[in-house]
Amino acid sequence: MLIDQLTLDGELCEASIEQQPRQPEGLAALRRLAEAIGAESCGVYHLAGAQEALRLVPAVDGAASGISALTRAITTRSADNFARAIAASTVPLWWRHGDSLPLRCATAQCWSAEVQPPLATAPGIAFPTTVERGQAGAVVFAGPAIGIDEVQLCDLHASCFALFAEVWRHRARREKQAPVMSKREIECLRLTANGLTSEDIASSLGLSVHTANQYLTNTTHKLNAVNRIHAVAKALRCGMID
C-alpha cells in the first residue's frame, strides 16, 4: 500500500490513503530484499522536517495490508531520535532485541553502528539512503530471523540505494513535469550559481550582456521564480544544475 500522508500521531487519515489498483513502485523489489535476509517487516521511508522536527515518513510499506508495526513504531513523534540518527549516519544502523542481533559476523558489526531500538519486539537494521541533491531516507528491515554477514551488508545497502532512487523517481514523475530549458539558459544559470556576473557570463559565452540577461530572465519565468537568485536556488534543489 502506498501511503501519502499520516497525521502527526501516526493515525491514518482515511481520505489521503491512495489505494492503487496495481502494486506501488518498489514494493516487489522491497519484498524481495526482505525475503533474501529473512526479514518479517520492511519499509522505505524518507526524512522530512528539519532539526527538532525531523521525522521519518513512510513511502512504501512492506505489509500486505494496513500499516506495519514497524512503520508505526518508527514514524511516531517519539521516534525522533531514530530519525536523527538516520539523518546523521552514512553506515547501516542496527538494534538488538534481547540477545538477538540482525548481524552474524564481527566484520559486519565493524562497518555498522548499534542504536537504541525504535521497535521493542524484534531486532532490525536501517540502511540510510540518499538521492542526488539531498533527499534522504532509509530502507528498514525488522524480524527475529535476520542474520546478515559482511558481504550481504554491502550488497543489501547498495540495493537499498537503487530501490530508494526508484521510489523517488516515480514520486517525482507523478508531480508536475519540470519546464523545458534550453542549453544556453541552463548554462547561464550554472555560471550565475558559480558567482559570475552578467558581464562575465556574456564574455565567457561570447554573447552580449543583453542576451545573457535575457536568458536569465527566461529561466526566472520558466521556473516560476521571483528573481534570478530564486531561480538558481530552485534549479539547484530540483537537480537541474549541480
Binding site: 562497518w111 539512503t129 550481504q152 554491502c154 540495493s159 558567482g195 534543489r237
Partner: protein, 232 residues
C-alpha cells in the same frame, strides 16, 4: 539462507580505518579484490570560488598523475560517468572518451589505465571520487565493484570520523543561515527584514558576512554554495 559466500569475497576487518596509511592499505586491498591494478581517491574542493581536486590517496606512479594532471582527473570526475551507490557501474574507456584531450588519453594509455571506473562516494557529508583502473578491458569485475562501493563508503566514514570534525564546523550563525534561506526563496532584503523582525541594514550585514564566510563573490554564489553543501 544465503549459500556460502565465495571465500574471495569475504572481507576481513583489521580494525577501524583511522589514518591515511590505513586508508591506503584498505584501498589497495579493494583494488586487488575487484581485479583492478590502480586506484586514486580524489576530493573536489571549492576554495575562493575556484573548483579544484585534492588527491587523498593513490597508487599511481607519480609521472602518470603528473601527465594526466588535476585537470584531467577533474574532467573524468565531471564527465557524468561517475557511478553512485546502487548504480550498475559503467566503465570509462579513455581512448573513446571525447571529454579528454589527446594528450590526456595518451597519458592514460601509456601508464596502463585502459579501463577506468569512477565511483562517487558520499560519507559524513563529504563527497569523494574513487577511480579504479586496469590495464585491459574486462579485468575489473563490475559485480565485485558494486559491493566494494559500499565497503569503501563505510571505510571513508571511519576515516573522516577520525580525521575530520564529526560535526562540520557550522561556519554560518543561525541568523546568517536564515537570511540565506529566505533569499533563496526569492525574498528581498526588506522582506527578510520584516520576516526576521530586524532592520534592512542588519539583514544586509548578515548576508555580507555569509557571503564572506562561504568564500563567495556575490549573493547568487553564496546561495548556490549553501545549497550544494546542504546548509540550506
Amino acid at each position: 539462507m544465503r549459500p556460502d559466500a565465495d571465500s574471495r569475497r569475504n572481507w576481513q576487518a583489521t580494525g577501524p580505518i583511522t589514518s591515511r596509511n590505513l586508508m591506503a592499505g584498505f584501498l589497495r586491498s579493494v583494488t586487488r579484490a575487484i581485479g583492478a591494478s590502480h586506484y586514486v581517491l580524489v576530493e573536489p574542493s571549492l576554495e575562493h570560488g575556484t573548483r579544484s581536486l585534492r588527491i587523498i590517496s593513490s597508487n599511481w606512479i607519480f609521472d602518470a598523475l603528473e601527465e594526466l594532471g588535476v585537470s584531467g582527473l577533474a574532467k573524468i570526475v565531471e564527465s557524468g560517468m561517475a557511478n553512485g551507490a546502487g548504480m550498475t557501474p559503467r566503465p570509462i574507456h579513455p581512448d573513446h572518451a571525447a571529454f579528454l584531450s589527446a594528450d590526456e588519453r595518451d597519458a592514460l594509455a601509456i601508464y596502463g589505465h585502459t579501463e577506468l571506473y569512477c565511483q562517487k562516494l558520499a560519507a559524513r557529508g563529504h563527497t569523494v571520487f574513487a577511480l579504479f583502473s586496469a590495464g585491459y578491458a574486462g579485468r575489473i569485475d563490475p559485480k565485485a565493484l558494486g559491493s566494494a562501493h559500499m565497503r569503501c563508503t563505510y571505510a571513508l566514514d571511519q576515516f573522516f570520523h577520525s580525521t575530520r570534525d564529526i560535526e562540520p564546523p557550522s561556519m554560518l550563525s543561525e541568523r546568517e543561515r536564515e537570511c540565506l534561506l529566505w533569499v533563496s526563496e526569492g525574498k528581498t532584503t526588506d522582506e527578510v527584514a520584516l520576516i526576521l523582525g530586524v532592520s534592512s541594514n542588519t539583514v544586509n550585514s548578515y548576508i555580507a558576512h555569509a557571503i564572506q564566510k562561504v568564500g563567495a563573490s556575490n549573493r547568487a554564489m553564496a546561495i548556490a554554495t549553501a545549497i550544494r553543501s546542504g546548509v540550506i
